[in-house]
Symmetry: D3
Subunit: 319 residues, 6 copies
């Protein structure tokens, strides 16, 4: 089985511990981005994973590829060129003080990539699953075009397509988002999102989440819709439970109480858990349990990427 | 509007994280001190602030001034000379283990400063508010004289005078404290302190806090008395609520549950929040909300100084 | 009064903070091991303590001895020679993610030490108490022989003998453990262990803990049996209460709720607290209070060794 | 006396010590840029200095301003807005391995600033000297326009104008550089550059440096032309001597042998030394000695900015 | 073209900077070992490289494999199992103080591996070159057997075989070394070693190096013999020149003066440079230049592994 | 053999690497002081050593004693009490930039100690050698009294007395120094100092060093006078040679070229080398070789204290 993901990966710059920006002249420097995080998780669990993007020709981008390789992620179809690697600054919140993120991703190589640079037929050859998020089409008009083409080709070639609806208000407004995401949804088999994102994506507000999920399944022919029920206690604690909807049934996972080390990428880990378990034919209940436990564990790990094994996820489920 | 504060600023030496003293051969080295912390907070919120003290002529003291300048605090009236910069060692407590502080401030330049070195008329020219704490008069007999002179001149020149009653048993005993603080209180408009400090300052024990506050208002002609109701759960959690007394009314703030990163300077942040909001004519309820939220946020920040903006304080209030 | 302990001390290698193994190319490097930890605690409280082991001739082992000396532990009878210092890697768990330990202690100098290398009569001359754990006899057949000889000689020479039953499944199976520990128990006066360990040691399962403790007292002629009642809340919180059984009576300590910094060595600190208080003739209730508070404080300190003073333990008890 | 400088300041990201990019997941994060570095040096020596630029509205840019303030640099005329703070990655060379720099400054707020955003008449009011480098006009067409306007207004208002010819091949080609710099040179009084830069700027190659300097003085009416004679020994040692040309005379400084800690910003420190000494009416020989010693000392200091006092520069000269 | 290497890779533990062992409680933790270092270099230059060894099943060994993957080294034939990962402690020398190394590699998985665990026919299928050092046969009798079998099979299958003669007195004596290496030399095409090692390997002492190299070529049918002429100036400087002998001619490289950052692995980098250039059909002069420059650059990089590109090596040659 | 030393030990606070004061908010925190450094070195070489001083009752002073114990230095006669531990800030110079030291030792416990607190007869019982420096009598009048008493008692009890003439202009002037040191010199057997210090101590300037040494020997009845011939090349290199004068003969050591890591304490290491070798009856030539090599090695070690073994010193001599 092989999973392909496509999107932006960024340099992540973060003050140490709970320091505010520049309280010390030092940043932790790692890499992250929704679809890259998913590829890493899937590879960690033992399924072939490939990440596709465009990166500039410089040592920082080389280091990014080297890091992906260290996680066993295939990087053969990463296009090289363009002006820059996107980056983001993050200051971890603590207790009453919220986490702060400053994006500096404008003009990145992937945002300025062209449709012609990605040969999806070649990329998808031998693949079984394609995963993308709602961030990729937001990067630029050409990224929207590439994203739509990718899901179309994937669907046509028989891959299962999953999409994390991720809406980023820093990149576009709700209207543009809706218009774009609706171009992609007809090709999506597994749709993951918060209640707000599901509402915005399909333009329906105010109905119960079960109905909403069912609407999405019917409107776009999805096989699965999934959401995470989260309760935050400021920046330190989190209650977290996954829900997986099929046309006929709703599957709820165990609920976890989490003391957070790093919340960034938890949603990606959830998506990756779903992708991994479904591509490996887990039953829906098993799948939502795996995804939720995987996402819960991510909260305990520094950085965007979820460095846990399949055995560790299963151990948490069976605890 | 311009706020002047006067007191001692020290070099703060602290083992990293929750390590015990010298568990690693390394100290985090920052600066802090009640009145300096207040000036930094006030400047952070956008009001002119000046800090007055005496510092020796060496590179460590230069670094201290440079740090104050980086926070936009005016340092023009800092006197240079004397033998040394006071310092303190702090080991952060964790859970059942309490925080430990070792002061090494004897013989500091400010403790040995003379009355003639501070020209308060010049310093207060153009200023609207003067803030001092109960620590400054404790440093030495001359510091007591300077403090009393400062509040007198401030009052005479029409500034509002605030005093944080801070009693430090390592510097003097309750009797000396009482005698000293009572020389200053007649010139104080805003009096901030714990219940114990209010009792010690005015020499009345065992009456309800509301009555006590009212006594202080009447005895010394204060406009406001303020206290913080704190419940500690060992070294990790804190419940925190501010109270502001006027002659006629008591204003309670929201109550915050805090998981602590660094508790030092939280009281100073509360004072600064009160000074800032009152000098800018906030209503009493707004003022106590601002002070309490500011102090609550301080618990989430490493070091003595509260690196939060006015917007962040308001965001917490309105959450 | 003088306490002697005997066992293995290892180099402990740990990623910083809550990082997973090799997430950064750096390990914190300290030393630790059950009986060494006990010696350090006892010395910290002000009673003479000596640690006996075998260490190779190299700079890392020298550093280990230097560290023991810095805690005032006598190292005069440490044998030098053999191939290597045992070591262990530890990755601290966080919230839902459990702590992970990788031992690399095979072939260590102490594991390959011979009976003839330790002259227990000489070592115990002038000593009042001997402490050992269930780990030492597990290291090798010769270590089992040395351990049995040590408790025999100690008993004969009138020392009080304490044993922490510590069962390590990575070193042997329950059956071998039982056979070994039963060779030692007849010489043990103070027997410390979890309920599971007590059951395995004496081969009786399923009876109430009070009965079980009484059985151990009677079967082996122990004066005291002690256990800790622990409830874990994942990797962050811990409820902790000590119990001390004599033939006639059961003593319960206060119960502590702990937010953990580092749990490793907490059991050793409990044992050390018991050893220290009993060798100094504390009453049983005082002893179990001291041991429990000491162990509780250990949770707040990085590394295996409990860096707290007698005064700090008493302050927690009296809080 | 007051010196104004104008240009780009960037976030500088650097692996620790001599590590290659991303050999550890951590960057040292400081700020730097030619004209900002000059302003910091001038302020360090005790002369009023102001730095003008455009910076985005975010916490990283706030930290940059805070850092400038800590050095006593006036930041009142920094324009806020635009998309991003430029940044550069630097890997320090060692011995045979050269230093490596990756710029990521495209689309920065200053590069996209407009002429109308800077009111030079207001900015220069009360100022005596204006300093700019050849990097600023390279950032964009509008930056070229702003730069030309700035030197014109400065000249007209009677300020002395200095320009460090800095040619950056990563930003433009020699031809564009020449065309741009020749628009500025007629307004420049003090022209600083390497021999190559002097040749490229005035379009004359292959004549002796003394003649070349004289040509520049005559062609553009400069009062001073200055260059540094450098011999590199790989990445560790440097021989360094300044030369100052007037129409009639050549002044050579002492020659220094330097073991390098950080070479970045040494040229800026030389320029700043020249600006400081000339604005304070040093004799030419004194000026070139001061500039050369200041630049030499910069090699011993981490980061772009030269943290040395006037006294330290003079001590080196008089050694 | 594909290069296979076989040997031991260890965890390398090193105090930071020039600190002595345990001067701080922290080790830098990286991986290294002669043949692993060669594989990394070859992969860095763009030729397929595979490293073969045996590693235990634990997270530290996983991290080692992950690191090799990050450098694009194929790890498919690494056998998993056995007791432990070998490790070594290194304290970097400084000036007059020599570097100190403590090996702790006894009982490692590779040392205890069996002949039957490596299917060399399968491993070498599709490969062009096999590289091994004199350290691998020293690890154990079975490692000697595996090494001899590997060079025999490689030779038979038409691979070019290179051997770095590395003699380690901590692992065996000269006599055992000689006996072992002479079993391998008849299958070696490219023999690399110091003069001492060449003498010990072939049992001839005291003749000029040129004659010695010729002897080795004739005795064992090598195509190339290579040595490095090194002059040390204590622990900081190094003069370094490579020599490549063929039957008919001697090729000398340029000579480099190096200020050292980390000397460990420089010899491996030289070997890798030779392997890379010869497998890619460089002329002998080009090959020795490439190897020497590669080795020289290694001195400037922390850790065992040479993180330089082909372009950087060529740039140094052409400087 | 047993060596006693007496003086002040301080907390040493230093920015990391070559950073200027407060360039990062962090200090390395170690301990050092002339006579403490001597005791550590002597203990490292295997001879009993005791350090006598007065230290306050706090955790930082406890850590200091713990550090001394870790080096096997006897601390039994350290008096506890007084106000504070002296400290000093040090910024390491680099190349042209000199090292900078800021003392903050006024009012330290030892400076305010009284004569009656040290029972020299008891302290010296069983000792063979007493070492002191010219810094101790400079700390205060009572320290001068204690120092004079100590050398008198030592002499009377038959100990050999050595004195490092160390003149500190920050503590007193040459005249006071001379008056004080001349009270001590009649009891000194081994007198160590720079040429300047020898001149100042005995009040004779401008005669050749050999004559000067001879004068000192005759005037004060010393057995040995020793000096180090140092040539500095800025802050990085050092040429270093010891000279030992007896009444009849001059012994010169080998001369070392040193690249410096940390120069502080090199003189103390030289003194310690002399003390160690003479107390163990080395021949004069051996003694000066040992002292010089020991001092040379100190330049390669971070911190005040010389962490080298006797074997390492001998290895350098025999290199």
């Amino acid at each position: 089985m092989k999973v392909v993901t496509f999107g932006e990966v960024m340099l992540r710059l973060q003050p140490e511990r709970y320091l505010r920006f520049m309280q010390e002249p030092r940043f932790e420097a790692t890499f992250g981005g929704g679809e890259a995080n998913v590829a890493v998780s899937v590879a960690n669990y033992g399924t072939d994973a490939e990440f596709v993007t465009k990166l500039p020709v410089n040592d920082i981008a080389d280091a990014c590829i080297s890091k992906l390789k260290s996680f066993n992620v295939n990087t053969d179809n990463i296009v090289r060129g363009g002006n820059r690697l996107g980056l983001y600054f993050i200051e971890k919140g603590a207790s009453l003080r919220p986490t702060k993120i400053i994006y500096d991703r404008k003009g990145s190589s992937i945002a300025e990539a062209k449709t012609s640079e990605f040969d999806w037929k070649k990329i998808f050859s031998g693949a079984d699953w394609f995963h993308i998020s709602g961030i990729t089409p937001a990067l630029s008009n050409s990224c929207l075009d590439i994203s739509v083409e990718a899901v179309k080709v994937a669907k046509k070639m028989g891959l299962t397509v999953s999409c994390d609806l991720n809406y980023r208000s820093s990149l576009w407004n709700e209207k543009d988002y809706q218009r774009a995401i609706q171009k992609m949804l007809p090709y999506v088999d597994v749709c993951i999102g918060s209640i707000d994102e599901l509402e915005t994506a399909c333009g329906i507000k105010g109905i119960p989440v079960d109905e909403l999920a069912n609407k999405v399944i019917k409107m776009y022919g999805c096989k699965y819709v999934s959401t995470i029920l989260v309760e935050y206690c400021y920046s330190h604690d989190n209650h977290w439970q996954g829900v997986l909807y099929t046309e006929d049934y709703v599957y709820y996972s165990k609920k976890y109480d989490i003391r957070m080390i790093d919340r960034i990428g938890a949603g990606d880990s959830y998506s990756a858990g779903l992708v991994y378990s479904l591509v490996n034919n887990y039953e829906p209940q098993q799948a939502v349990e795996f995804a939720t436990a995987a996402g819960a564990l991510k909260h305990t790990i520094e950085g965007d990427m979820n460095m846990v094994s399949k055995e560790e996820v299963l151990a948490l489920i069976n605890k």
